[in-house]
């Protein structure tokens, strides 16, 4: 089992390298000379050249890329054009904030989406089921930023019970300011999880082993929890894993609406300032985060589905 985990970890490394290379290559296309930007437009060509040599900007692509990777591993994410500060310190806290937001969004999506999906499947064709299908249809199709605006309109402006923006600290400030952004961000994923859960449960309900279990004389509730749910969870896990990527993307917009001090907002700001290193570092960090989450979900599979577990256990022998 450990061997399987290690193997998966190793497989992730080339993907990570590839992803960083990809983003690095994309940012290469950005116009503008970093040295000039730093020294200002009045600087002489000579000074610029000296700075370029200093910063290693004249080195070939591969060398610069390798330097980037080695720095990354050391924890150095470069220096921002905007304020000449180290990016690592700027990003770190923001990464935490984004993770709080995305994490809460996943939690909400799962805690609401799965039970709703289960009930919908059990009571197929009922009023509840139809209502849920309608609602999820709209939620899945709604732009995150618009939902955010609507929620702010309702809860913050009209009802005035929740703060419209910003991240407060401490308790309960943090929680209150977290509700609206997390709810907004989770809505798409919640809808998709609910639908997937429903479809998965419906699929499971038709299986023969459910008949076998029923013929044993089990209670319906026991049937649902012990036989249907564990089998239905497997595709749901896939969806959760895939959703995390779009959640991270959605956080960009959500953070803008709610002035949440996370990495997403940092990226948007950096773009308007054409702060290439910041953009590069942020996107790379998020890509790494997303990859590790996917890896985690993959590993979770092996624990949840014994068929996969034994596949990899037998590889050992």
């Amino acid at each position: 089992m450990i061997q399987y985990i290690v193997k998966r970890f190793l497989l992730v490394i080339p993907v990570l390298l590839g992803a960083t290379l990809l983003v690095f290559t994309i940012m290469e296309f950005a116009p503008g000379d970093p040295a000039r930007i730093m020294l200002g437009n009045d600087a002489s060509l000579e000074d610029i050249q000296i700075l370029r040599e200093d910063m290693g900007l004249n080195d070939p692509f591969i060398t610069r890329y390798i330097r980037f990777i080695t720095n990354l591993l050391k924890g150095d994410l470069g220096t921002s054009y905007r304020n000449n500060l180290e990016i690592s310190s700027q990003i770190f806290q923001r990464l935490m904030n984004t993770m709080i937001l995305a994490g809460s969004a996943v939690l909400i999506a799962v805690l609401i989406g799965i039970p709703v999906g289960i009930i919908s499947a059990i009571k197929q064709y009922s009023v509840f089921d139809n209502f849920i299908m309608m609602t999820t249809l709209f939620l899945a199709a709604s732009p995150v930023f618009w939902l955010g605006l609507m929620l702010v309109l309702l809860f913050a402006l009209k009802l005035g019970i929740l703060p419209p923006a910003g991240m407060k600290s401490g308790f309960p400030g943090l929680l209150l300011s977290l509700i609206l952004p997390a709810l907004t961000l989770s809505s798409n994923t919640m809808a998709i999880i609910a639908r997937t859960t429903r479809a998965s449960m419906l699929e499971v309900v038709r299986q023969d082993y459910i008949d076998t279990a029923r013929a044993k004389g089990l209670k319906e509730s026991t049937l649902t929890v012990r036989h249907m749910l564990p089998n239905a969870l497997i595709p749901i896990l896939t969806v959760i894993g895939i959703s995390f990527g779009s959640l991270l993307g959605g956080s960009v917009v959500t953070e803008s609406i709610f002035a949440w001090p996370g990495v997403g907002r940092f990226i948007v700001d950096s773009i308007s300032f054409k702060d290439i290193p910041s953009i590069l570092a942020s996107v790379v960090m998020l890509a790494i985060l997303s990859t590790f989450v996917n890896l985690f979900v993959d590993l979770l599979y092996a624990f949840v589905d014994p068929r996969i577990k034994s596949q990899y256990q037998s590889l050992k022998r």
Binding site: L16, F138, P143, F145, L149, G245
Partner: protein, 306 residues
Amino acid sequence: MCALNNKITVESKVETVRDRTLFQQAWNQFKRNRRAMVGLWIIATLVFILIVTILIDFLTDYSIYDSFVIKQNLRNKLAKPSLKHFLGCDEFGRDLLLRILWGTKYSLLLGFSAVSLSFLIGGPFGMIAGFYGGKIDNAIMRVMDVFMACPFILLAMAIVAALGISTTNLLIALGVSGMASFSRVTRASVMAVKDMEYVEAARAVGASDLRIIVQYIFPNAMAPILVQITLRIGTAILLVAGLSYIGLGIQPPAPEWGAILTSAKMYMRDAWHISAFPGLFLVTTVVAFNLFGDGLRDALDPKLKK
């Protein structure tokens, strides 16, 4: 001799009947699906609006566009919905309904073009990977994995950030970011068809690889691909709006739905209509494409026949 002739004519007749009925069958199945038809109608309406607005612009040389959609009329600033202005006015006094209607073309055209681009780039890769398998498949899929490691929107943002803000760059960004998932779908589709017996038969008669791909695999693998295309147009539309919202897509004063929403936040307290309506149009459009795509999938998938 006579019997042989009869046999041939009967066979060809059977074939044309079958050809007609296959498409007819799918269409009949689709028609019975009420939700899918609703989706189709909404899309048709939107396309109609699209054509009308483009025509008006063309015929009036943008004069209507300029005077109603762009020109500011501060007397009507933030007007609430009324009989004169059905959806109210924005912060510059421009009629919101007209702005939204003129914004249709961005969402539809960009959404469709972005997805087409993703398909044109990713599709061939997927088909080659699925068809040849082995090392080629592995190599291509590794590359796609790399693309998929990065969240879609972030990749698009990075591309726009690097290339600069313009409609073309937006298109490139969306097209390139989305190609990885298309390659997966086409690959899966091709792999499913590749093992079918009629492909083996074609090979036995000596058809070249290219011919097999184009004449046999492509038409039969198209169904799930078509469904994916339709469903992804919805996602693309949301992405265009999202990128425009944060200022990386279509720039104001162009009335793209996401762009309209950018400034909406500031005026939310007094003018909620600016926030509400463009979003509603977005939701409806995406829902329509989703319903249509679902209906298409149900109609084209023989296994789902009741």
